[in-house]
Subunit: 309 residues, 4 copies
């Protein structure tokens, strides 16, 4: 099952579950996959920024990818983040993922690229390194400092049919989504799938601006699924009510660096993964932070129930 | 009236009101001051990052500061942001502000400083350039890339009695507030005033972690005042309810670059300033963005009313 | 006397002479001007990166510019660096410089600009802020992180007739000079003047690649003048011999941050300025560094004499 | 043979030789090793910044390291650069290198680390990931933006006995070498080996400031060896004469990004490696650049002969 430009729905960004000693936790991986599929995921993404990808060595990365694909067994498409410091590593991971049945790869331009042409050229070379796999272009300037305008994205889309999806997580980014949609609506750019990220912080607006789906890993993916469904049913107030009920926790989970530890803690508390452990370097949650998460969970539960009522 | 380490309450970050043609808008400045004081501000801060300070030339900056101070007329302390590319400009603005009656100056380390010692040394030199004025240290790494740990802040506080307030807007930053409070609670650091910024995005938690106040410019400062009052009255649920009612707009207003345009638009719509104009370079709000702000305003109004009930 | 696209020769980047107490040193300024003109300067540039421009306040900047222009009295064109954190300050300095008789302004895109379009748009707005003054575009990515490709420079040149000169100091930058020359030679870009900077580190090659001149402040500007003359006379070996005799000191003077202190020290030792003082923040030369400069000066003198023989 | 704090001499930074098709070139690797040992190398360093390390995948890196160590066969110590985006990859490469007989590992703090404590903590964790191997700390802020003061280096040296060598390539960096030497001379820091890098651009001064050796990959390592020998024999003028004869080419080879292509081209022309090919992404030498290298080679040869006479 290969990704194409018609993809839509919620692609859940998967953390990489570790045991307390840092080893890959296979049982948690399987439980997590089942939980995400049960929550309504249309796809899964592994080894993204929030998947601690750089903390795995090459052999572990491939082992994890193969395990996920074997467990998913074709029920939904699986995208593999292959960003790496060089094309040789990227090629090795992409080839292994393709053999294991990945639906596509996700690539972000690396920090330090300067000038539009350097970015465009990098993405072209990276896509070549990934062979014929469909490509998700990740537009996430906050950690990388690399800005891609709508015009640049258009250049890349027009140049390479493998580029079938954009993960839009510029900040601010709403007007860029509108600009990209306008380009394809007016026939000035091949239409690709656009999914929003950013931890979901601007979710309902991003969908209303024209995103086909969501690709993020908020610890309650069923909320993402439901908000999208409500918008598709034209229930705008209900969609926003539900989202706003979760926003205090969404906001808490989007703290750079700390956010993944928060997310894993919630997933552990929900029984989805066995340990909230991160590999080093990574933050430790303080008692104060844990108390705030508990406070937020209690309030979100109440508010979400009220919103549903 | 000089700022000291016991300062608390809501210090509203003032935008600089411009007419449509870009000139300083004196009438709006006065209306804004009155609105902020009426909302319960304990202090005002002008020429901060959100005050478009670098877009004023030296003469305009001084003219604006003098005007504000004349109008406030000692009712609350006024802090002046003096961050400048060099100490000569900083000195000129600080001296003029002191003569006009400023309560203190706010200084942030400039982008590009590398290494803890360089930061500590810069702040010492900058404070000297500001003469004997009390200093607010702004800890805002997102735009500057300069990180200040609790240990570094301690070094600066211990070295310079002029440093009386910290504007804490690291992200994530909650544990740093706790660490700083612990340092002074345990007698390992002189106690200074800590106010939180970050557009208010983490407001109730920051106050609960030990902030003495808030220094931000959210377009409804009365909410900031009320949330703080509720927490002081130990009404935690009510405080969070009110804050969460505003969070969708708070989140929308914290978009880097775009946020100030959103804020000015709301202030104009509320009749507080005459024009939402920004000086170049600055973003223009699209019709889609304006529609989203309108949507958020309507919902915030309803939710805040519900929270108050 | 206004700068135009036919400008050539050596434009000496002037440091701003300070007395030991940090005040502007008028006598040294006049002596320096005469020394540079006597050395064969075709023009002068003030308030550049190496002119400590950000360390002057607005009034001082204008006073210094007026003084220089009065003293030069039309003998050569004078370019004024107007890079500033905002357009209002830039406008004030450009207007004052125009009134005093400046030949043009020099503008660099500020650190932090992301994406080609943002750079192009910034330069257009900055040129507008400078009125009708001819513009020197400074391409100096090392301190700013802003990369401008030949294609971007072409866009800006084609869009704005005020842009008459490029200060080319990308690193590496030789092939960009060739690319730009090819563009105008083949009729694909209006021909502008290109002068090289980078402290002169790649000087003979830059002239051979097609630069019309040099804009840097090496403490022996007569060497720059002579190397250019030798190349124009087709004496390539002699030009390189003379340059290579100076290269050990050129290299020592191009150390970021420290280099200006080295340059001022040599200028003071040559009797051109009265004090090597820099305004804070700035480095202090250690005894070891001074001994190395002395060693280099003695060797350069000997080697230059040998090269001339 | 393990590295220790008494190490000295010239450690040649080895490029990774590729065939035209990008494959590892085993024959060139062996020829290069023999050439470097014949030139007087006291040690070799592989997989550094100039070894295109990030362009190899994990399996290739280990294969290359094993090949080099087998060929060197204990004649000199071999240091392996293990900088990697995560500790798992670093651990895998370090373990494999240790098994193959590496003398130590070289680690640089990654771009993006903010604050002294984060750097110190990173290096401690990285050293742990490398097991008990001796560590060379690389201080190279130009590409990483991470500054390490003498005080920070002292902290790391005092904390970890595995840290036995510093590769000093800050820029400017001469006074830091003096400061570090003073610290150990005065008994305030354990004495470690300091080798200079920076392409050799400040070579004789760095040795005179107290460096025990050189770790760089200039295409004529015999010059580095000879300059050091002359200084040890107290022939200062002769040492500088020889170095200055090479300086025009040294300067040309230190152009960021382009420099490695220049170096490989010279090594190919000298018959040391079979192909100047770089893996993508990497620059291509233009005909103009090649002509300049040829010009420089001819002049260096003549000048070096004159210096030797």
């Amino acid at each position: 099952m290969r990704l194409d430009a018609t993809a839509s729905g919620v692609f859940v960004i998967c953390p990489t579950p570790f045991a307390e000693n840092g080893a890959l936790d296979a049982a948690s991986t399987e439980r997590m996959i089942e939980a995400y599929l049960a929550a309504g995921a249309s796809g899964l993404t592994v080894l993204g920024v929030m998947g601690e990808a750089p903390k795995l060595d090459q052999e572990e990365s491939l082992r994890f990818v193969r395990h996920v694909l074997r467990r998913v067994a074709g029920r939904v498409p699986v995208v593999v983040g292959v960003s790496a410091p060089g094309f040789a590593s990227m090629r090795a991971l992409a080839r292994g993922s393709a053999e294991a049945g990945a639906a596509g790869v996700m690539i972000a331009p690396p920090a330090g690229l300067k000038g539009d042409d350097a970015v465009v050229s990098y993405i072209a070379q990276a896509a070549d390194a990934c062979g014929d796999l469909p490509v998700v272009l990740q537009d996430f300037p906050l950690p990388t400092g690399v800005v891609m305008t709508a015009a640049m994205i258009r250049r890349m889309v027009e140049a390479d049919p493998r580029l079938v999806m954009l993960k839009a997580e510029d900040w601010p980014g709403l007007d860029k989504i509108t600009a990209l949609r306008r380009l394809s609506d007016q026939g000035n750019m091949r239409r690709i799938s656009i999914v929003c990220g950013n931890g979901g912080l601007f979710l309902p607006f991003e969908l209303e601006r024209g995103c086909d789906g969501v690709m993020t890993g908020y610890a309650f993916p069923e909320m993402l699924v439901r908000v999208r469904a409500l918008l598709l049913e034209d229930k705008r107030e209900a969609a926003h009510d539900l989202f706003d009920a979760h926003l205090p926790l969404v906001r808490y989970e989007t703290q750079p660096g700390l956010g993944l530890a928060v997310r894993k803690w919630v997933l552990q508390r929900r029984g989805i993964i066995g340990s909230a452990a991160l590999r080093a370097p990574g933050p430790k949650l303080t008692p104060e932070t844990i108390a705030e998460i508990e406070w937020l969970l209690a309030r979100v539960e109440k508010a979400a129930a009220a919103a549903a009522a």
